[in-house]
Subunit: 309 residues, 2 copies
Amino acid sequence: MQLITVGTVAFDSIETPFGKADRVVGGAATFISLAASHYVKKMGLVSVVGDDFPKSMLDELRVRGVDLLGLEVLKGKESFYWSGKYHYDMNTRDTLETRLNVLLELDPKLPEAYRSAPYVMLGNLDPKVQLKVIEQMEVQPALVVLDTMNFWMDSAMPALREVISRVDILTINDAEARQLSGEHSLVKAANKILAMGPKYLVVKKGEHGALLFGEDRVFFAPALPLEDIIDPTGAGDTFAGGFIGYLAHTQDHSFDNLKRAIITGSALASFACEKFGTERLLTLTRDEIDERIRQFVDLVDFDIELVEE
Amino acid sequence: MQLITVGTVAFDSIETPFGKADRVVGGAATFISLAASHYVKKMGLVSVVGDDFPKSMLDELRVRGVDLLGLEVLKGKESFYWSGKYHYDMNTRDTLETRLNVLLELDPKLPEAYRSAPYVMLGNLDPKVQLKVIEQMEVQPALVVLDTMNFWMDSAMPALREVISRVDILTINDAEARQLSGEHSLVKAANKILAMGPKYLVVKKGEHGALLFGEDRVFFAPALPLEDIIDPTGAGDTFAGGFIGYLAHTQDHSFDNLKRAIITGSALASFACEKFGTERLLTLTRDEIDERIRQFVDLVDFDIELVEE
């Protein structure tokens, strides 16, 4: 295995100002795996679903090189379910309902082949479960990336701090970076968070792009202005999948290559917003991704010569 | 005159989560002129103040090449006064008090030397006053840039639409672009706004940077992540001043040069936030600006080669 991912595999019901979708397939590990599959050919997925989860979606994952030995299917149980409603600005949302269902029973046992994977993606999930995955690795991974959210900062901070101290890269959004650090300035927030353990911090800002902090450097990646944003659900996970997929493919963890990984993740995330759930990712091709990466290059490209006084 | 600017010259009282300043000098035309003075040596300023306005500040402007023949000083009257309080995120604010004072009597009469200026900056102000400035130009300017805000969209839309139809470039923030167009997607908003007349639209997003739309192209300029944001008041005006100052200096209105003007404006705006009011701009040097422009280049610089499958 080149990459293993732990995270939810779930159903989502989503309402936006522009439409709604009922019980579509979602979940952090689903989006991450679909995105990473464009760069990594042998991946493992660690999660749990009920037997209500569609076999067709499992086949979609398998066909993309995602090994499902790590995915428990619990008979007679229901998969994790989340429903939410986006505000008009599409940057904020309210959770309408969360049914943890099988997620309560997720006690990951990594298949043998997963325990020496060089790349580990800890998708948004209970930090205690993320910790169990780290602890089962038999070979120190080349790179561990952690995604989390404010919910765990509110409810499970000690475990979260423990996971944060053991990963190489943390990805969170700007409000979460402020909450985790207690600092309003993102520069100060980044310094405090990097002191907690990770070598790099990626601050995701949705339609406003992303920032990379580390090695006393900063990089600002744009988001592509989209004609239509249909559904931002899973965009952050898709970003993470493209990000770690690119790094696993190139096996280069320098700051300059992390920039490229962020551009790749941003390009993938922009597709995720174009349709509800995973729909757009299921038809996405590498040519489309490459074309969009070229648009990102154009979007921020400028040359400036300092003019004479 | 190379550039004339119309806008407020005022006193501001500002409260932020991190401090406060009472009756400091502010106003759109003040910030614009101070910023543009790094690139333009002969400027005119069109505005009105009371005789409570400090002579020392007028001297600061004069010494930077700002001609004040267009600035009326009304005896026994008070200058425009605004006070506001920023929210914790520093991106939004409430107006606590507005005393229009002399602004009610602003009926601009352009001095002869102003009427053939090639560059015109219409700072945020009643669109009827902005129109009067345009109408007094005897030679068609090479470039007219308009800045405005939601207040005028709410209260003076017909006059505002008239001004918008007569300028080359409009600068507004993202919420205002959505309000003006009735479109949530900034891409769609930009298309509608460009159909109203301007050739280019600059969408200012504060700490999230700025977007340039026009010629069916898009450019995304970052904002520099700052260690401390003391006071964002005047940042948008300072941006506009750096933007039009750079264009007036280079006399090149191509898309590629507009990008450079945006980077220059963004660099200047980042300084404006470092202290209350105009304080930081009064000590700012061209070397400091050039150094910060280099930081912007580093901030977004990346190279990406599309990797093999």
